[in-house]
């Protein structure tokens, strides 16, 4: 059952990736101006542009152009960056580990903090703990990444001089960007954990479990917890979208040389080949995260695979 679900979900992911590739492909073509010129540095000569036009097959029908494009992508050929003058693939590969480190560490820490807070707030609905948790969550939800990032630097680097503001290095460098990036996610997860727990505790099966003489502490930590985890995992999947967007801002502000910073630089340099590929890579990463999230959810909730 689970295996079949994995297959089905993989199939869906492939379809999503297909549509994303179409979107990335279309992006260059709906933009005003000559697509071939857009893929080249501003200094390119007419001959170079003409050669690029031929290479992209601009004289051929759109579907042939797409096949050429997707063929290249599948072979790992993402084109040449106009500003860096090297292959887009290698640039992205260079920057990728930094982003992976930042995002993975951030997600992990924010989940470890927010899930317990949310669950406890749900159990103690209406208490002071609950109110504070909700306040924490609402403020987090309302924190613009831009503002939070700059404030973090101002307080912890400029005023208190505790942590480095810019660049990469040891764990010290990770703290500020991680908090900035992780707080909104933690806020959403806290909310979901709370409302998930509240919903679960209203269910008949929880009353039934209590009526079986199982101690409350175990009902919460073992039985209700598993049910409450389902909406939490789902919301993490959805939030990763905002999260990746936030990474562009955070990496830019904290000079974290990852994929997000690269995206901002590419836009600034009008390096459209790079922008196009980054869109593809980030969306693919997002699709992958969603796949993992769904597989985890299906492991927790047997109803998903049974239906």
């Amino acid at each position: 059952m689970y295996f079949r679900y994995i297959l089905r979900r993989l199939g869906q992911t492939v379809i999503v990736l297909f549509f994303i590739s179409i979107l990335a492909f279309a992006l260059i073509r709906i933009a005003p101006g000559n697509p071939a010129r857009m893929m080249l540095p501003d200094t390119a000569t007419e001959e170079q542009v003409h050669a690029k036009e031929m290479e992209m097959g601009l004289d051929k029908p759109l579907y042939i152009q797409y096949i050429k494009y997707i063929g290249g992508v599948l072979r790992g050929d993402l084109g040449t960056s106009a500003s860096y003058q090297t292959s887009v693939g290698s640039i992205i590969a260079d920057r990728f580990p930094a982003t992976l480190l930042l995002t993975a560490a951030t997600i992990l820490v924010s989940l470890l903090i927010s899930i317990p807070i949310g669950i406890i707030a749900g159990i103690r609905q209406g208490s002071m703990v609950d109110f504070l948790a909700m306040l924490f969550a609402l403020i987090g939800q309302s924190m613009s990444t831009v503002w939070l990032a700059v404030m973090m630097i101002y307080i912890f680097s400029v005023k208190l001089n505790l942590l480095p503001a810019l660049g990469m290095g040891g764990i010290k460098y990770l703290i500020l960007p991680a908090i900035t990036l992780g707080y909104p996610l933690a806020a959403q997860v806290t909310r979901m954990g709370r409302s998930g727990m509240i919903d679960v505790l209203r269910e008949d099966y929880i009353t039934a479990t209590l009526a079986k003489g199982i101690p409350e502490s175990r009902v919460y930590t073992k039985y209700a917890f598993k049910n409450a985890l389902i909406p939490i995992v789902t919301v993490v999947g959805l939030q990763v979208g905002y999260f990746l967007g936030g990474a562009v801002v955070v990496e830019t502000i904290f000079s974290w040389s990852g994929v997000g910073q690269l995206a901002n630089q590419a836009v600034g340099n009008r390096d459209y080949a790079l922008v196009q590929s980054l869109l593809l890579v980030i969306a693919a990463g997002f699709a992958l995260v969603n796949l993992i999230v769904d597989l985890i959810n299906a492991k927790i909730d047997p109803r998903i695979t049974l239906e």
Binding site: V16, F19, I20, L23, L27, I28, I30, A31, P32, M38, M134, L138, I139, Q141, S142, M143, S144, T145, V146, W147, V150, M151, I153, Y154, V158, D199, R202, V240, G241, Y242, F243, L244, G245, G246, V248, V249, T252, I253, A263, N264, A266, V267, G268, R270, Y272, V275, Q276, L278, L279, I282, A283, F286, A287, N290
Partner: protein, 278 residues
């Protein structure tokens, strides 16, 4: 639900009342901003650059070009709120309509609309916005369009999920068997029942759009200088963080308060209308 009860809950809900009052305050301020601004927000005055708050009538100081931050803040609020208003209205109308149609008729229409919205949902909002803005170039029109394109799916999904529940309700069947048309049923029977979740989403999206717009403007892809926006004001101030922190703090606080107000409002509404609450 009973109107009396809703009113009672509204008044009692701290989140709702705070959000509501602050949101109204912010909106009024931004409407009155031309009257309140005491300087021309775009006029450079290099002699007065980087003045700290309170000096020479500059309530919140000046920026690196000597422009009055208070006036820029007020004008920026107009842009932020107006863009959010236009974007949310357009996205809500388009998304809700498509969601209603999709859920009500089902079949191929549904599949088509759902596929399209899935594509948009499969790309992180800000990333897609950045890519499109980079390709199309920066203008207010493009900015609004990009924000609509990346946010209509929220309403579409919401409307569709609700319609799927509502259309199997017997009161909808009752309308069908008395010979009522589809439009009549969709608009008079189903729509009134999804206004509550819609209202909650709109209010939360309002805050969200303001934040996304700020991020885009910060990255130089939104509102362009010299037109003030909270996002590009923070971007400006970033380099002067050590010498003129007010350049960042003023727009940042304004941004936070505004977004917080709309989120409080949305959350309060959710709480007020929660059918499961006893």
């Amino acid at each position: 639900m009973e109107r009396k009860l809703i009113f009672k809950r509204m008044v009692k809900s701290k989140f709702f009342m705070t959000g509501f009052l602050v949101a109204v305050f912010v909106v009024i301020i931004s409407i009155l901003s031309p009257l309140l601004a005491n300087f021309d927000p775009t006029a450079n005055a290099l002699v007065d650059r980087l003045k700290s708050p309170g000096i020479a009538g500059h309530i919140l100081g000046t920026d690196q070009l000597g422009r009055d931050i208070f006036s820029r803040l007020l004008m920026g609020s107009r842009y932020s709120l107006l863009i959010a208003l236009v974007v949310v209205s357009l996205a809500a109308v388009i998304g809700t309509f498509l969601g209603l149609v999709s859920g009500y008729f089902g079949g191929r229409t549904d599949t088509l609309i759902m596929r399209i919205s899935e594509i948009f949902l499969s790309i992180p909002q800000l990333i897609l916005a950045i890519a499109i803005m980079a390709m199309l170039g920066t203008s207010v029109f493009n900015l609004v369009m990009v924000l609509v394109i990346t946010s209509w799916t929220q309403y579409c999904k919401l409307a569709r999920n609700n319609v799927l529940v509502q259309k199997n309700m017997d009161f909808v069947h009752a309308s069908q068997v008395m010979g009522a048309g589809n439009m009549h049923i969709m608009l008079t029977q189903i729509f009134p029942n999804i206004t509550t979740p819609l209202l909650i989403t709109i209010s939360q999206q309002f805050g969200m759009i303001i934040m996304v717009e700020a991020s885009l403007s910060f990255l130089g892809l939104g509102i362009q200088q010299p037109t003030p926006s909270w996002g590009n004001m923070i971007a400006d101030g970033r380099t002067y963080l050590t010498t003129a922190p007010w350049m960042v703090i003023a727009p940042g606080v304004a941004l936070m308060i505004t977004v917080l107000a709309f989120n409080f409002l949305g959350d309060g509404l959710r709480d007020v209308f929660d059918p499961k609450r006893t």
